[in-house]
């Protein structure tokens, strides 16, 4: 029964990769992935919240009474989300402008609450850190993959990170004559892309 640290870490990267295997936490998955950069930023913010809320929930797991555990988890998660929001405004303002309302929405992201309830409240701190990191990085990779696909087709660019002075990434990947498929960066395009990626994941998983 006892799983190793590496197993807890790697399960989030493929086996239980949240958006594609469990189809959880879809609000940010569909909402922010208009560019690869947004996907990475949102993924990292969620990872930060996930790891720290897992640490706190795991360390308080014997103190929190079971009848009010959900309320306690939400307080802990909300605290870290606001910390993320403030820090992002102070140090990565351009990213904050793009992610906007989706940062406060991490509070109600079912992945974060789900890990607190299903894992961190029953396991040790070290295992919970491994779990949080694994799920978080898996989430980041999924968002980055979906974001890059949408940005590539919808805007003909691939942005990894924007600094105030320059953009790290490739502009006009398919050359200047490519007519961007604007549908992809709008909401319906997100559903289509997600559907295609789910299809691909199931295809790979069924073998």
């Amino acid at each position: 029964m006892a799983k190793t640290l590496t197993q807890e870490f790697t399960k989030g990267l493929w086996e239980d990769i949240a958006p594609f295997r469990l189809v959880l936490g879809l609000c940010p998955v569909l909402g922010v992935t208009t560019t690869m950069e947004n996907g990475i930023g949102m993924g990292l913010a969620t990872t930060f919240v996930l790891v720290f809320s897992n640490i706190l929930v795991a360390s308080l797991r014997n103190i929190i009474p079971s009848k009010v555990r959900i309320a306690c988890f939400i307080i802990i998660i909300a605290t870290f989300v606001v910390i993320t929001e403030l820090l992002m405004q102070a140090f990565a303002y351009t990213l904050f402008l793009k992610l906007g309302v989706f940062i406060p929405l991490i509070v109600v992201n079912c992945i974060v609450l789900g890990r607190a309830e299903a894992f961190a409240s029953k396991n040790s701190i070290t295992l919970s850190i491994a779990d949080g990191l694994g799920i978080g990085i898996g989430f980041t990779l999924s968002l980055a993959a979906l974001g890059s696909l949408r940005e590539l087709l919808g805007a003909n660019n691939l942005t990894i990170w924007t600094t105030p002075t320059s953009i790290i990434g490739v502009q006009e990947v398919f050359g200047p004559h490519f007519q961007p498929f604007t549908f992809m960066v709008q909401a319906p395009g997100a559903f289509v892309c997600l559907g295609l990626m789910l299809c691909l994941m199931n295809l790979l998983g069924s073998k």
Binding site: K67, Q89, A90, G100, Q186
Partner: protein, 197 residues
Amino acid sequence: MRELIKMVVVLTVLSVLSGGLLSGLRNATAARIEVQQLKFVKGPAIKAILKGVSNDPIKDRFAIKDGETERKFFVGKFDGKANTVAFESYGKGYGGDIGLMVAINMEDDTIVGAGVTTHSETPGLGATAKDDPGFVSQFKGLPIEETFKVTNDGGKVNALSGATITSRAVCAAATEAGGIYQRMKPQLTEKLKEFNK
């Protein structure tokens, strides 16, 4: 009974700790966040609409209370005279509030320039209000007491194609800016005198 007390105590302690931590962090980051906002949102818009000023409008700013809200004004000096103020007003767009920075020449009450600051409009459609300088430049030189409308509604402003709601919101923001300006003009005149000393 013991269980009930434990629940109350745990929840209370958690809430108090979280509230204290967050208010501390908020105070610690407030100054830096304001600098970031000025640098990334308001700064570029102000610089674009107040081209050719001899001072730094972001440094020469002041705040006045307008009823409940505190409004920030940025001063522009042309030919050594502080005669222009820039401030932000809002209109309801397709995806939320649209912020419009409006600069007004206080000598003849006309708009020196306008620029969209914050918005959450559709990329490629409404978002062009910010990206296309041709749209906001329509406001340049118009008298501020006007009620701005798009041509469809019988006004003078050409709407962005495919983004009538956005265009209307920008017009509403400009009209609102006129209202704020008329209301606060006496105080603004007083303040500008300080900058002309």
